[in-house]
Subunit: 138 residues, 2 copies
DNA sequence: TTTTATAGTTAGAAAACTCTAACTATATTT
DNA sequence: AAATATAGTTAGAGTTTTCTAACTATAAAA
């Protein structure tokens, strides 16, 4: 296996593991795996409407409606009616719903901590520069 | 937001997105999200028994049994009876089951490709060295 | 302005997911 | 050897997830 691919795989696995641990901590017993998935997708899409969410989830609209109704009832998201198109509404995360993202943040911070622990300051700056170059838009 | 954390978050999001796209490609319509999750956990644990799998999934043993029975019926995993403890059996991935990991591999290779596209050879070697140092055991 | 398309909803049914309680078989402890 | 613990199974019930078909309301096109 190529060295670079191996390193990425390792990084990815570790971050995944840290996110799993974070979710255990945050104790989302209130949500099923499926509901968590809808919530994360809403977060990723950024206030989608029902049609957009259903498309991204590869589900029908009635199925998606059942899911969002549960998330609304449990106070993880709320509806905002669209002014431009009065047929439509967009889903927003509540304060409680936004906690989901904290599990990602937590894992990312933890990984940053591991990196600072293993590399000296010069190396950290170098790594930052390299990663920034990879994701720079152009 | 700290620069390093931001870079990790970006990397993590991109890899996640690539994995999602890979799953769409591989077309696992045969599996529900839940079943996919059991299968990935079995893969991560490496031939766990029912008790170990249930613990990792935070589910009861009967629930876990229902799930693995479905995966066996669909030929994603199979049982291997333990010689040491005759009450027990371990789950192994079939060839078909191992395809799941390919979605991860695919995403990691794609990310490696993006990196090679944005960095020159010297920078790639540097990045490899830094990541290796982070994950070196000691 | 009538027709067609789009956004979302409702109803009802099937499959998947999850649990508790009670059980069998094998291992371990006393 | 008897008592206790562990690995897994079975049965049955409640909840969640998913679909198709049919509907309302608004927007866009003809």
């Amino acid at each position: 296996m190529e060295k670079l691919v191996e390193a990425i795989a390792r990084l990815s696995r570790e971050i995944g593991h840290m996110e799993g641990a974070a979710k255990d901590q945050f104790d989302f017993k209130e949500l099923t795996l499926t509901q968590m998935n809808y919530l994360e997708t809403i977060s990723n899409l950024g206030n989608p409407n029902l049609t957009e969410l259903a498309a991204e989830m590869h589900m029908t609209k009635p199925t998606t409606k059942v899911a969002v109704d549960k998330l609304i009832e449990k106070n993880f998201i709320f509806r905002v009616k669209s002014d431009e198109d009065r047929r439509s509404a967009h889903f927003h995360l509540t304060v409680k719903g936004k906690l989901i993202n904290r599990t990602h943040d937590f894992a990312h911070k933890q990984m940053a901590g591991l990196i600072r622990q293993k590399l000296d300051e010069t190396e950290v700056v170098l790594l930052e520069m390299l990663l920034e170059k990879v994701f720079r838009i152009q």
